[in-house]
Amino acid sequence: MTKPATRRIEVGALTRVEGEGALHVDVVGDRVARVNLAIYEPPRFFEALLVGRPLEDVPDVTARICGICPVAYQNTSIFALEQALGIEVTPEIRQLRRLLYCAEWIESHVLHIHLLNIPDFFDSPSGIDLAKRFPDEVNRGLRLKKHGNELLEILGGRAVHPINVTVGGFFRAPSRRQLLGLIDDLTWGLDASIDVARWVAGFEFPDFNQPYEMVALRHPTEYPMNHGRIVSTAGLDIEVQQYEDHFEERQVEHSTALHAVRIPEGRPYFVGPLARINQNLDRLSPTARQLATDVGITWPCFNPYQSIVARAIEVVQAYDEAIQIIKAYQPPEVARIEYEPREGEGMSATEAPRGLIFHRYRTDEQGRITFAKIVPPTSQNQGQIEWDLRELLPDLLKHDDPDIAIRCEKLIRTYDPCISCSTHFLKLDLKRR
């Protein structure tokens, strides 16, 4: 009997993703035998680094996990520690934190939309090549990104790895004048971001609807950023404290990043902008909600390629909300709530640009960290990405290997994976047998 032909497709280094990873695919005959999204960045051991340190160090260390979404890492750790310490912050501090998330969503989403993801819809090899073809649109994107960075600088002290945030609040609250100085730019940005969303919604999307379980936060009144219950499109509705009863990180041989799965079934799940909008359409601002209706997508949407539209709508949401917060802003009388260290445990889940993020910490009576757990969005999406590729690949096998590699990378990029964050770029290795 003739042995089936073997084909191995390898993407040695994924491009236009944050971090470094590879894709190895083995095909036996017309069957996809193995799909491994291999994250080979060395583990960074952030949790171990935190144990034994005073809790005040945690926000500065967790911010270093990512240069694109430090706010989410920093604030999730802060919220968890505040729970451990029994700290209740004022509504004014809470609003400033929400504004910080708006800033990060703007700069992170706009970067991914314009320089990493849009090139895929024009078969453009890079954001730089796209800039030659669409200079006005890319210039507009850079201007929008700048707004996010400026807002981060005012609130966080600097645009990357903010230093002004701390357990209990902020070291220094911005002045009303500082924030109002951004209003003209943000108002322009709101209109421009609506144009971006309309533009990307008109792209041609591959037909790839899948039966995902999408997981996101849901808040009684707000679009989810920094608080809420954890809900899913499969009916899950739990408190953040129950997260570890329903989700588990598992080690896999081919990756330095852990894979999070739903338990007990061990199945993958999907986090990110699409998961958020699917379950929070009614929580969008009137402008963003109207836009979501106008762009012609039927919600809930289960096509990952349309994540770019969800991401663009969230940019509108972030601008809209940032403007409202700034207009109503009065500097808080107390920028930081004082606390006494104590033994305790706390956990928090917030929404990073790339999806749900979960942190849990324990402190001793001196306020030193005795336990730390950090579950980033990309480690939650990795299993789902591999599952997606197994679904996608059978239809791609008629193509040559380089073409398959490009199509796989395009699907991976829809998730806006941040590989460095999850370890704690893609290389496709496809073997056909």
Binding site: E18, I128, A131, P135, V138, S420, F425
Partner: protein, 157 residues
């Protein structure tokens, strides 16, 4: 008010010799009546916002694997041939490309694609040895910073 003709941007960080770009700016800031605009950047992407206002852009950055100050001039950035050969020179200086932000080469290429590059761009690469936290300036880098500031001053005054 007319935009200054010349912008000098030093790229750096507080880590060892990586502060070379910032220290060259500090040297120039001490020169009275200097008409050039001076900026310190912590990431190359910041240059895109600043460069549109300048006719000449000098970029100062620390670089590993070079022995002496290396000067690369992009005299006519609107020309594709010129930009390609200049980018190739920059590639020879550094193979280090970041995935988390735009590196200097990508920023120059992107600015060129967007038609934002000033008429003249000069890159000054200062030799560095140590780039880790808590490391002091190396003697070689310290000497090169002074020489780079002097050479730059001769060009811009």
């Amino acid at each position: 008010m007319n935009a200054p003709e010349t912008l000098v941007a030093g790229i750096g960080s507080p880590l060892g010799d990586d502060r070379a770009g910032w220290l060259v700016i500090d040297h120039l800031a001490d020169i009275p009546q200097l008409t050039a605009r001076l900026r310190k950047a912590s990431s190359p992407h910041q240059l895109i916002d600043w460069m549109t206002d300048a006719r000449t852009l000098h970029i100062v950055d620390a670089c590993v694997d070079i022995e002496t100050i290396t000067r690369i001039e992009i005299a006519n950035p609107q020309s594709s041939n010129q930009i390609d050969s200049s980018l190739a020179e920059i590639d020879q200086l550094s193979q280090c490309h970041s995935t988390h932000h735009l590196d200097l080469r990508s920023v120059i290429e992107l600015a060129h694609s967007l038609g934002k590059l000033p008429q003249r761009v000069v890159l000054w690469a200062v030799p560095g040895l140590y780039f880790a936290a808590d490391q002091p300036l190396s003697e070689r880098c310290e000497r090169a910073i002074g020489r780079c500031a002097e050479s730059l001053l001769e060009e811009i005054q």
